[in-house]
């Protein structure tokens, strides 16, 4: 039963075919059996999980079960959980026990969801492989010699390997969608401002967004229904009314206008990936959708704009880690400055340091206008280009990543190569748009390929509906682990 969707599990729980405790225990057992190889969980909390399951069972017995009640989930380790170690996969936070809960955790707890534990990620969400984690360098459930993607690699791998029913991830430049694609699962990045970031350890504040990783678009909708909406603690969350995101599940694709931006299929995209996504677009056409050719001239600047903005924000967001208030404190004698320099130098990994240096460079006087200022200008231009496309399209479909999951020893040592691999996903964050990645094929090695369905701001329902329409006609393969 660990491989079932939330929708299917709901039926089993509500019909008392299984109890919430049995379900939770099944996942805990599987974590015990498999996670030694997969290395997705940094922290497992069996007692808390079983206690939450008991509580959920009560609601189920009383007939008060909401859609996530009793559903075991994994939480990315950059989401603060009161009383439970939260590391952001960094040595810097090796001992950090948050004294408060992220808003999404409050919402999940209130909905009766069961938290199994905290899953690995790239350090401070910087990376696309989960290999920059100080703790668990998670593997791909389809092939343990490959990466699960990142930064939400633990979330996607845990869902892909059936170590949870669903998970929360966070997406700054593709960090939910790309690992979802690599691990053959569905991942949704909501519109910026849809989900509260309160309690999400910030990487790049203007781009970060929490979202679900699950086994179907419908499951993503159920989770988004629970975590979305206005929050007193986050001034950037929209006060717009939150719809029922399952409203377009089972929709008819007839007449839906799908934009295909040729720039996303250009050089650098693996042939098998390109073919797979194009044939998915064909099946939408067969469902009655209208395909419209579009272009995005500024895409060639997107990687630079994304890395400049995100690193600039990160350099400021990560300045608070000094070993004084929390986290790794170096064992050195000397001045305040000596202490924090040593704590930061020991606490942060190489990739985080590179981003901090880049961010300082982009913001420093003399370079600000040429780098940060221009990147912010480009952000506005990319938004305008998307707005232009959405004047004639309802959705855009792109590959989620230019390749399938690569080997754990590839790419990650070459920052340039690693950064360029993000060009399919970053513009969505730059333009604050919602996007979902869902499997659309498998390559000759049996590795999953993902496509992304991108929508207008606040139009998650359509994005989810379109992904669901494809999923209904697609034979998804599970990882054999």
């Amino acid at each position: 039963m660990v491989e079932l969707t939330i929708t299917e599990l709901r039926k089993k729980l509500d019909s008392k075919e299984i109890s919430a405790a049995e379900l939770t225990q099944a996942y805990l057992d599987r974590i015990d059996a498999v996670d030694g190889k997969l290395e997705s969980y940094i922290t497992v909390t069996p007692e808390k999980a079983l206690a939450a399951a008991e509580k959920a069972q009560k609601s189920i017995d009383e007939g008060n079960a909401t859609p996530l009640c009793g559903i075991p989930m994994a939480i990315k380790d950059n989401i603060c959980t009161e009383g439970v170690l939260t590391t952001a996969s960094s040595r810097m936070l090796e001992n950090f026990i948050p004294p408060y809960n992220a808003t999404v955790m409050e919402k999940l707890d209130n909905a009766g969801a069961v938290t199994l534990g905290k899953v690995s990620m790239d350090e401070f969400a910087m990376g696309g492989s989960t290999q920059t984690s100080y703790f668990k360098k998670t593997k791909n459930p389809f092939d343990l010699s490959r990466v699960p993607g990142g930064s939400s690699g633990g979330s996607a791998a845990a869902v892909g390997a059936d170590l949870c029913a669903a998970a929360l991830g966070s997406d700054t430049g593709g960090s939910i969608r790309q690992p979802a694609a690599f691990c053959g699962v569905t991942g949704l990045k909501p519109t910026y401002g849809r989900v509260s970031r309160y309690g999400l350890i910030a990487f790049a504040s203007s781009l970060d967004q929490i979202g679900p990783v699950a086994r179907s678009a419908e499951d993503c909708a159920l989770i988004l229904n629970t975590i979305a909406g206005y929050d007193f603690h986050d001034g950037t969350v929209s006060k717009l009314p939150v719809p029922d995101f399952t409203e377009k599940i089972g929709m008819d694709m007839k007449g839906i206008k799908i934009g295909v931006v040729s720039d996303f299929f250009a050089e650098g995209v693996d042939d098998e990936v390109r073919q797979s996504v194009l044939s998915a677009i064909d099946s939408y056409k067969a469902m009655g959708a209208e395909i419209i050719e579009c272009s995005m001239p500024s895409l060639k600047y997107a990687i630079a704009a994304y890395y400049l903005i995100s690193s600039a924000e990160a350099s400021s967001n990560l300045a608070r880690y000094d070993g004084i208030k929390y986290g790794h404190r170096a064992d050195v004698a000397g001045s305040y400055s000596d202490l924090i320099v040593a704590s930061r130098s020991e606490g942060f990994g190489d990739e985080v340091k590179r981003r901090i240096l880049l961010g300082n460079y982009a913001l420093s006087s003399g370079y600000y206008d040429a780098y940060y200022g221009k990147a912010m200008g480009l952000k506005q231009k990319i938004r305008e280009e998307y707005a232009h496309i959405f004047e004639k399209c309802d959705l855009i479909i792109t590959p989620t990543a230019p390749t399938v999951a690569y080997g754990t020893n590839e790419n990650i040592d070459d920052p340039k190569k690693m950064y360029q691999a993000d060009f399919c996903t970053v513009t969505v964050n730059i333009a604050s748009l919602p996007a979902i990645s869902t499997p659309c094929g498998y390559n000759k090695d049996g590795m999953p390929i993902g496509m992304s369905v991108v929508g207008k701001m606040w139009d998650e329902s359509l994005v989810i509906g379109a992904a669901d329409a494809f999923e209904k006609n697609f034979a998804r393969q599970g990882a054999k682990l």
Binding site: P98, R320, Y326, N360
Partner: protein, 483 residues
């Protein structure tokens, strides 16, 4: 050259804490004091994952401060991060407004005396921005450590940046005093120097007389009393003049004033790279103001010192007295309250500027929490005016009120100071005085009027508290004439 051959060019950055109930970006209490680290939450202590949420009142108060200082208000303001590492700044950045501050150009007129001469001048305000305060460090010499208390982190501040328009320590001191008063009247800050709720960074350079170009300036950070501002500038003028006289160059740097030694010292540390790397804070959306918001806020601004002074002069109070009252908002507010109970401004001002001020100066009265209230002081002044108590007894009664509070009528009654005119008793006393002093009465009747004073004194002695001297005199004259 001597010091007098240089013209000092002075600009100030005045920081004043706003009187909001909660902090500017979180819901912790913004009140001064408290046990260490008891007014902190995940947000103001910079825990990972936390986000700022702007306090509406802090924005309104900044706008009011702007109006009080004659500023134009910007309808669009953007929050920036000012990045630097210091243990009192838990996020390692201060949220401030650099590029799009909330208040733009303004002007503050000042009046001061120099060499016994009255002078006026207008100091231009460059802009005012809203920002958050930092925490406090306590030094533990015994253990060789410093302790961080974040209670003050996130208390809202306005930073008022002036143009370099001041040319003497007196002008600078007067400006700070004037701005403090304006902010107090606007109701946005209590400007208590001793609690650090107003402090200034002083920018100062010298140029030779006749020069048009400013010299290189030094910035003296965090000067926290009017006296220190004056002394800092005096010291810097001397220091910089000496450097320039030697043909040296003033270094553009940050300095600190040591109040004990009366000197400024360089704060530069060798290892530090300096660049605040300001950029728009992505966690806070820009705030827009509409005309109607600004009109409402402007209309809600209380009566300001200039208007009050004019009002008092209109009541017949001499200008000098009116200005004394207005120069202390607590006193002026108190006066306003007494006026509501007793509409005799001149008399009230005499009492307040006389007796009350005297005891304040003696340190007997703390006007932030006086033992007496306005209604009772008004009553006391009225009693004195209507001769229900003597002028001297009124002072005595007030002494008790200043100490313990209370109702002046009851105090006067308990202490036998109340003058209740009892005509039958007056007549009775006069009869007995006349009867007992036949010789004097006869002297008076034979034209020796000097003796009236003696008879009057005899009556007054026995009538103490029962009649006013005026009544006694009238009745005594009447009686003597009828004999």
């Amino acid at each position: 050259m001597s010091v007098s051959d240089y013209i000092p060019v002075i600009g100030l950055e005045i920081h004043s804490e706003l009187l909001t109930k909660s902090k500017v970006f979180c819901t912790c209490s913004a009140e001064f004091g408290g046990e260490k680290n008891t007014r902190c939450c995940p947000v103001c202590s910079g825990l990972p994952g936390t986000l700022p949420i702007i306090n509406q009142t802090a924005v309104e108060y900044a706008i009011k401060a702007g109006y009080a200082l004659g500023c134009e208000i910007s309808k669009f303001s953007v929050w920036d991060r000012k990045n630097y590492f210091y243990p009192d700044l838990p996020k390692a950045y201060q949220i401030s407004e650099l590029y799009y501050p909330i208040c733009l150009e303004g002007a503050v007129p000042i009046e001061y005396e120099e060499n016994g001469e009255k002078k006026t001048k207008t100091i231009r305000i460059n802009h005012i921005h809203l920002e958050e305060d930092a925490g406090k460090l306590v030094h533990d010499d015994l253990n060789g450590v410093s302790l961080c208390d974040y209670n003050r982190c996130g208390v809202p501040l306005v930073e008022i940046v002036t143009e370099p328009d001041m040319r003497s320590p007196e002008e600078a001191r007067t400006l700070v005093e004037t701005i403090a008063l304006l902010l107090q009247y606007a109701g946005v800050s209590d400007c208590k120097m001793e609690e650090g709720s107003i402090r200034a960074d002083v920018n100062i350079s010298l140029m030779p007389k006749g020069a048009t170009e400013f010299g290189t300036r030094a910035e003296i950070k965090n000067v926290n009393s009017l006296k220190s501002i004056y002394r800092t500038i005096e010291y810097e003028i001397k220091r910089q003049a000496q450097i320039l006289d030697r043909g040296g160059k003033v270094i553009q740097e940050t300095r600190r004033f040591d109040a004990n030694k009366g000197e400024t010292k360089s704060m530069r540390t060798k290892e530090d790279a300096h660049d605040y790397k300001y950029f728009p804070d992505p966690d806070i959306l820009q705030v827009n103001l509409r005309d109607e918001d600004l009109e409402r806020i402007k209309a809600s601004l209380p009566e300001m010192p200039k208007e009050r002074t004019a009002k008092y002069i209109g009541m017949g109070i001499p200008e000098k007295e009116a200005k004394i009252i207005v120069s202390d908002k607590l006193i002026s507010d108190f006066f306003e309250d007494t006026l509501k109970a007793y509409n005799n401004p001149k008399s009230l001002v005499n009492f307040i500027n006389g007796e009350i001020m005297r005891r304040i100066n003696l340190g007997e009265i703390d006007m932030t929490a006086p033992a007496f209230d306005a209604v009772n002081v008004a009553k006391l002044v009225e009693m004195s005016d209507t001769e229900k108590v003597s002028k001297n007894d009124a002072k005595e009664i007030f002494r008790e009120m200043a100490e313990k509070g209370g109702n002046p009528e009851e105090i006067a009654k308990n202490r036998g100071m109340l003058i209740v005119t009892d005509t039958s008793k007056v007549l009775e006393v006069i009869e007995s005085v006349i009867a007992a002093n036949e010789k004097a009465v006869n002297q008076y009747k034979s034209g020796d009027v000097k003796v009236f004073g003696f008879l009057m004194g005899q009556c007054s002695k026995s009538l103490r508290g029962a009649a006013t001297p005026k009544v006694i005199k009238e009745e005594l004259e009447k009686k003597l004439a009828s004999l």
